[in-house]
């Protein structure tokens, strides 16, 4: 079936098997491999993106359900020659090891700070509870969130 959706500000079309997930269409049809394919059951959060502004696991969205809607992926965050402040914070804090979970975490952290620029520790943990990282032990990730949050509160982004 033909699916048309607004992806990162641009209307895109893909002719896909109707049972495809949104994640599959993003990665395999639209050339956007930033959203990672790991568990395919909503456990790991590596495929996190926004559907009509809401944080979702794209592996659990039927692509047909995104028809006519707005999708924003991790690729929308950085500019031509600069990273998003959350991505900068991840680099500076050393919150990236193998990197597989990073795009999903960056999207989830951006979503959190967009809604709550000064989250307390428990709020951060709850907001990231759907994103698994098997390398960092999360501490560096929490450091990155604190760094990005501080810069947001200071008005630098």
């Amino acid at each position: 079936m033909l699916i048309r959706m607004l992806v990162n500000g641009e209307w895109r079309e893909a002719d896909v098997w109707p049972g495809s997930s949104l994640l599959f269409v993003l990665r395999e049809e639209l050339g956007l491999p930033g959203s990672k394919n790991a568990c395919e059951q909503g456990e790991c959060g590596s495929c996190s993106a926004w559907l009509d502004g809401e944080l979702v696991c794209t592996c659990l969205v039927l692509a047909a359900q995104a028809h006519g809607r707005e999708v924003r992926t991790v690729e929308s965050l950085s500019g031509e020659d600069r990273l998003h402040p959350v991505q900068e914070a991840f680099l500076e804090a050393g919150a990236v090891q193998c990197g597989f979970c990073t795009p999903g975490l960056v999207v989830a952290v951006t979503d959190l700070l967009d809604h709550d620029p000064a989250p307390d520790e428990l709020t951060v943990r709850e907001a990231l509870s759907g994103n698994l990282c098997r390398c960092t032990g999360y501490e560096k990730v929490f450091d990155a969130v604190r760094l990005a949050a501080r810069r947001k509160q200071e008005g630098s982004w």
Partner: protein, 292 residues
């Protein structure tokens, strides 16, 4: 495979009548896993996310109706006074899952571990379903028939659930291996209803469907009456009554051993959850008594 995309409820019902084997999909948090892993290959799916009818909730005098398409995130945000339901919603999956998962999905999937189901059972909710033949309501007991089995006819859709709002203390608690992203090993919803002077308790993940524990309920309601707690919320409830209540809750469970936990552990877990729930309710009543 075909995905039908109705733009209104009437259209969705007509499609369901025309394709009785079609699988309705809303948030997709259960069904997409089945699709991704090739466990199901329905010939036709009907997308319920393209129209607003099922996404509404409304107050009807002393009752609340929650549409099947209302997500757990929206319950947490929009229905804060439904405390046990909010607690249950918050324990579902992760933010990503709660943004998509719906109360109708818990009902349609009918997993014994569905976290909103003990809350519906405690409220004696009626489940509202519809087809082109008309609308009907049935109690949660008549709707949930077994493990992943419901009374939904092949041409019907779940419209939502309706219940009388309970005014007394209420809570939901869950045991699992993590605080998030966990399917309940056991869960429990407890509520007191000062209007009818009854106590209600429902258990999940310890039987083929969510169950109530009527003997335990009657015992604790009697203890509340003997202690005078319905008239004087600061009246203490004897610890032996609370223990006996928890014991009967545990006895009502019919758990099995499975990958998530043993039957013995589940029986123990609901006993602990029951005792905690009563403790919290009694504390809450005492606090309210102090304030007033």
């Amino acid at each position: 495979m075909d995905v039908l995309m109705p733009r209104a409820l009437e259209e969705a019902l007509a499609m369901r009548a025309e394709h009785p084997g079609a699988v309705p999909i809303a948030g997709g948090t259960d069904l997409m896993v089945e699709l991704n892993f090739d466990h199901i290959r329905p010939e036709v799916m009907i997308d319920l996310s393209g129209f607003a009818d099922l996404r509404e909730w409304r107050r009807e005098d002393d009752r609340l109706f929650v549409g099947s398409g209302v997500t757990y995130t929206r319950i947490m945000r929009e229905l804060p006074e439904m405390r046990a339901l909010v607690q249950a919603s918050r324990s579902v999956g992760s933010p990503q899952i709660r943004n998509r998962g719906t109360i109708g999905g818990n009902l349609g999937t009918a997993s014994p571990a569905g976290d909103s189901l003990p809350v519906l059972a405690v409220h004696d909710a009626e489940i509202v379903v519809a087809s082109v033949r008309g609308e009907r309501s049935l109690s949660w007991r008549d709707f949930l028939l077994g493990v992943k089995r419901t009374a939904l006819e092949p041409d019907e859709l779940i419209l939502g659930a309706r219940w009388r709002v309970l005014r007394g203390p209420q809570s939901f608690a869950k045991v699992g291996t993590r605080n998030a992203m966990v399917i309940a090993v056991a869960n429990l919803c407890f509520a007191t209803d000062p209007e009818t002077r009854t106590v209600r308790v429902a258990l999940g993940s310890v039987a083929p469907t969510v169950i109530r524990a009527p003997e335990a309920e009657a015992l604790l309601a009697g203890a509340f009456a003997r202690a005078g707690a319905w008239d004087d919320p600061s009246a203490p409830i004897p610890a032996s009554d609370v223990e006996a209540f928890a014991e009967r809750v545990s006895a009502a469970a019919q758990p099995i051993d499975d990958v998530r936990g043993s039957a013995a552990y589940r029986r123990h877990a609901v006993r602990v959850l029951a005792e905690r729930a009563v403790g919290r309710a009694v504390d809450e009543l005492a606090e309210e008594a102090l304030v007033s």
